[in-house]
């Protein structure tokens, strides 16, 4: 699909809340390739309080791995690359480290523009601490006091369809203007207005001396239409600037990136949007990134993207907050070993204290993976509930995707691929036919950031083998009784060899199909099981490509609820892991 390119190397740095990664791409045999990555602990917190040290250590490791000198004697990045092979031609950077950006969302109608402002804010690492709208009846000074007390990093204001309301918008922003007047010039409020574009001049005239006012396209151009995507770019840029002011070293990184520093989630979303468009995926591509600071879900379809960052659902410092969102028994149901509520609570709070620590015992690994399952379930439930209500991709989603692309150390560092896959299947519970892809080298943020300056690189790296194809999942959705046959399938290999299988409700089966091979699959659902072919009971044929685990048939039911009896759980969890090739 793509041709040879002029040699141009690209270095990407992603500053996560726990780990900083430096990723190098270059041209090999005429095509862009992922070369290597280096990593180091992020040094945003004590005792360094400057991300530069972590960046330097990650680059040191990358230099050691590749033998390529990237930093000059002046401690600056060598750019562009020199004839002796040192340096790189371009640089991009992403960041997810830092406390969530504190946002106040403002709109006119609570369930329309205010909700869209809130949803826009949640497309990056933020926490909406307050929301104002016309219906909340609070006095201007009450709102003013809220702004003063909460000290938001950012105000996201929406309201007014295109050429619609204007005066009510100005009125809603009155408290913000007053708060801006009361602040010293050096601490001006950042305000992003994403409403009626016809009143930009009026707002500028009224508020420009009081706050730093930024504009982006209307998130509600029409009452029935929500468009977060165009405004997200402005939000991402602002979030990068806010990070630059909050964390020492980020401004310098942004300078290296020529002002192009963006949140890691934005970069992740770009890749998912690209894949959703490139694959012409009718059900879309779902991206899932479970990190220490947050869990990000991105759904790309036909060039559209829905993105949501759950800062309260991370595997790091926010884990303690996660406890306020779930019942402990929701986590315990994913454990095959006896873990008391006290043990689980202690584990979660300890991990929040030391997010970089690793589970080295079987018990702690089981707890970490059980928490991950519940994080995935919580994030997916909220994401799809909101998508169905507001999203640009709303179409009565039944959690069916053409592909799921997964990132995060909890998956890439899982002791085996079976464990990584089971976490995904249990947490996300996709139905129909889905391909599972793992970002083994953790390069998604790097690719997304690179897309802004070198789209060809992204295309060629995605076409390469940098991502691990875990397998194709066929998940019939059925109300059949446990043990009843729900699917008959025939798989015809390239060699012409055929395999037949009857799958019963409650079973998890695997048909081997190695990476690089394809096969023809014919599905014949029984008991009106839905295999994603358009309607319950409808079957058909499809081509599948091989993966590390082959073709997985997950007939454990949707929703899949693990057995309440712990002994039974233990037996089944072991069996399923064995089936998928784990120990």
């Amino acid at each position: 699909m793509t041709s040879r390119v002029d040699a141009e190397s690209l270095l990407a740095v992603d500053v996560g809340s726990v780990t900083t990664r430096a990723v190098l791409f270059d041209v090999v045999e005429g095509r862009y390739r992922f070369i290597a990555n280096g990593s180091a602990p992020t040094t945003a917190g004590a005792p360094y309080h400057d991300i530069s040290e972590g960046v330097r250590l990650a680059l040191d490791q990358l230099q050691a791995i590749t033998g390529r000198i990237l930093i000059g004697s002046d401690q600056q990045l060598i750019m562009p690359a020199l004839p002796d092979g040192s340096g790189v031609d371009s640089f991009v950077a992403t960041i997810s480290a830092g406390e969530p950006v504190k946002v106040i969302a403002i709109g006119l109608l609570e369930s329309i523009s205010t909700e869209s402002a809130r949803r826009l804010a949640l497309t990056t690492y933020s926490k909406v601490v307050e929301a104002f709208n016309l219906n909340d009846r609070r006095r201007t000074d009450t709102r003013l006091n809220a702004v003063v007390r909460l000290r938001p990093d950012l105000i996201v204001a929406a309201g007014g369809t295109e050429n619609g309301a204007s005066q009510s918008v100005v009125r809603m922003l009155e408290a913000v203007g007053l708060a801006g007047y009361l602040r010293p010039h050096s601490q001006r409020l950042e305000v992003l207005y994403v409403g009626n574009q016809a009143i930009h001049d009026e707002l500028q005239n009224t508020f420009r001396d009081l706050v730093n006012l930024h504009f982006a396209p209307n998130v509600r151009p029409d009452l029935d239409v929500e468009q977060l995507d165009p405004a997200h770019a402005a939000l991402a840029r602002l979030a990068g600037e806010i990070r630059s002011q909050q964390i020492p070293g980020v401004a310098e990184l942004n300078l290296w990136a020529n002002g192009g520093l963006i949140p890691s989630a934005t970069a992740f979303g770009r890749v998912i949007r690209f894949l959703g468009k490139e694959l012409a995926a009718s059900k879309g591509v779902l991206g899932v990134d479970v990190g220490a600071s947050a869990t990000t879900l991105a759904w790309g379809k036909n060039g559209d993207l829905s993105l949501r960052v759950f800062t309260q659902l991370g595997l790091g410092r926010s884990m303690a907050e996660f406890l306020h969102q779930v019942q402990l028994r929701d986590i315990q149901r994913w454990l095959a070993i006896e873990v008391s509520e006290d043990q689980l609570t202690n584990y979660i709070y300890s991990k929040a204290l030391y997010p970089a620590t690793l589970p080295v015992t079987d018990e702690e690994m089981a707890i970490e993976q059980a928490i991950t399952r519940q994080i995935l379930a919580a994030a997916a439930n909220r994401f799809f509930a909101e998508e169905a209500a507001y999203g640009a991709l709303k179409d009565g989603s039944s959690q069916q995707f053409d592909a799921i692309v997964v990132a995060g150390s909890v998956f890439t560092r899982a002791p085996n691929l079976a464990q990584a896959t089971l976490m995904l299947l249990d947490g996300l519970q996709p139905s129909g036919v889905t391909t599972l892809v793992l970002d083994l080298n953790q390069i998604m943020p790097a690719l997304g950031a690179a897309a802004a300056i070198n789209p060809l690189l992204v295309v060629q790296v995605l076409e390469s083998s940098s991502f691990l194809h875990l397998g194709t999942v066929i998940a019939p959705s059925s109300r059949a009784r446990m043990g009843s046959p729900v699917l008959r399938l025939k798989m015809t290999y390239e060699s012409g060899h055929e395999t037949h299988l009857e799958v019963k409700q409650g079973a998890l089966e695997v048909l081997p199909l190695p990476i690089g091979q394809t096969a023809r699959l014919h599905l014949h659902p029984l008991h009106r099981a839905d295999v994603g072919m358009g309607a319950p009971g409808r079957g058909g044929g499809l081509k599948v490509v091989g993966g590390a685990l082959g073709v997985i048939i997950d007939a454990r039911g949707r929703p899949f609820v693990p057995p309440a009896d712990r002994n039974r759980r233990q037996e089944l969890f072991r069996k399923w892991q064995w089936t998928l090739g784990g120990q």
Partner: protein, 350 residues
């Protein structure tokens, strides 16, 4: 590879930056001797504002309202002072409902800043103010013993240390706390009973230093008016021997307990400071150190949570019981056992 250092030091110089969360007024002077509870800076962190809409209240235009205002920006207004008027046949007046300062007038409105109780930043430790940070706070320095913990409930106090935990493994019960401990900072052992917290506040104690605490006690401990510090972690932990010995041998000495939370991106760690005269040769402790053989380390995760030992050697990438692979070091524990742990699962003690 550099690793953060947790301090358990019998004698060191301690320097702490104490700053307001927002700009305010610094009250301390350079060179001033301060105590734990001395206020060194204050700020009106949560000012309250009151908007008086003169025009709307009097049903007149904004321009007309502006003409009858009786106050201007900067005026101090007492409750019931006249803000605007008189106007009309009935000589209507607008009076201030609260005491405050006028911060903005115009468009027929008056914005008052209501006088509130300022947030007061305490010194948090006894010592000398060695530098001032304009509008923010001060840097305070003292000599003494220092023991850092992992969690605190944000409170600050000063008192004499008393040892209730007769061994590092001691588990405290509410019945163990009696009036003989009143007013002390108590080395209390492991706590898994919320009644302990309640009793400590009722006595009252001046502070609690736990080895470990059940995480379910966090909400109760956070609400407590006295400081609570957890030295080792959440769960059943014994005191690490160095911390226990240091605190126990300083029984009856006055100590400052600063249970400030170790916020994600701040340097603040909950800590106990026992002020002592230190020789001028004693300097500031290192905050980070390169990982190397013979350093003392504290292990953070199961199966060796809370244990301390000495680093023996770097082992490269190792596969652990869970199947996870990670860079690891070999550590000789206090009991003489040699164990291999991920580098990510330890912190240095110095």
């Amino acid at each position: 590879m550099y690793t953060p250092v947790k301090h358990i030091l019998p004698m060191t110089l301690i320097r702490r930056e104490r700053v307001l969360p927002a700009p305010g007024k610094v009250l301390a002077r350079a060179g001033q001797k301060v105590n734990v509870a001395d206020v060194i800076a204050e700020a009106n962190l949560y000012p309250e504002y009151l908007l008086i809409d003169v025009a709307r209240t009097l049903h007149i235009s904004a321009e007309k309202a502006d003409r009858i205002l009786q106050c201007q920006v900067g005026d101090q207004i007492a409750q019931a002072d006249i803000i605007a008027g008189p106007i009309g046949l009935t000589r209507r007046l607008i009076r201030s409902p609260r005491e405050g300062r006028v911060v903005l007038v115009g468009s027929g409105q008056v914005l008052l800043e209501i006088a509130g109780k300022p947030y007061q930043l305490k010194a948090g430790m006894p010592g000398e103010v060695v530098d001032l940070i304009p509008d923010r706070g001060a840097i305070i320095e003292t000599g003494g013993a220092l023991v850092q913990g992992v969690w605190g409930n944000g409170k600050i106090e000063f008192g004499a240390i008393r040892v209730l935990a007769q061994s590092p493994e001691f588990e405290v019960k509410a019945a163990d706390l009696d009036v003989s401990l009143r007013g002390s900072i108590t080395l209390a052992g492991y706590c898994q009973d919320e009644e302990v917290l309640k009793t400590a506040e009722e006595l009252p104690l001046r502070g609690l230093i736990f080895s470990g605490m059940a995480a379910r006690c966090i909400p109760q401990a956070s609400r407590l008016s006295i400081p609570v510090i957890v030295l080792e972690g959440f769960g059943k932990y014994a005191y690490n021997p160095a911390a226990y010995k240091l605190l126990a041998t300083n029984e009856q000495r006055p100590a400052a307990i600063n249970a400030e939370m170790s916020a994600s991106y701040s340097a603040a760690r909950p800590e106990v400071i026992i002020p002592l005269a230190v020789p001028s040769s004693v300097g500031l402790p290192v905050e980070i150190a390169p990982l190397a053989a013979n350093q003392t380390a504290r292990l953070l995760r199961s199966p060796y949570s809370g244990e301390t030992g000495v680093i023996v050697a770097h082992k490269g990438r190792v596969t652990f019981q869970s199947g996870l692979r990670a860079e690891a070091v070999e550590v000789r524990l206090e009991n003489g056992q040699n164990v291999v742990v991920p580098i990510a699962n330890l912190e240095l003690i110095a």
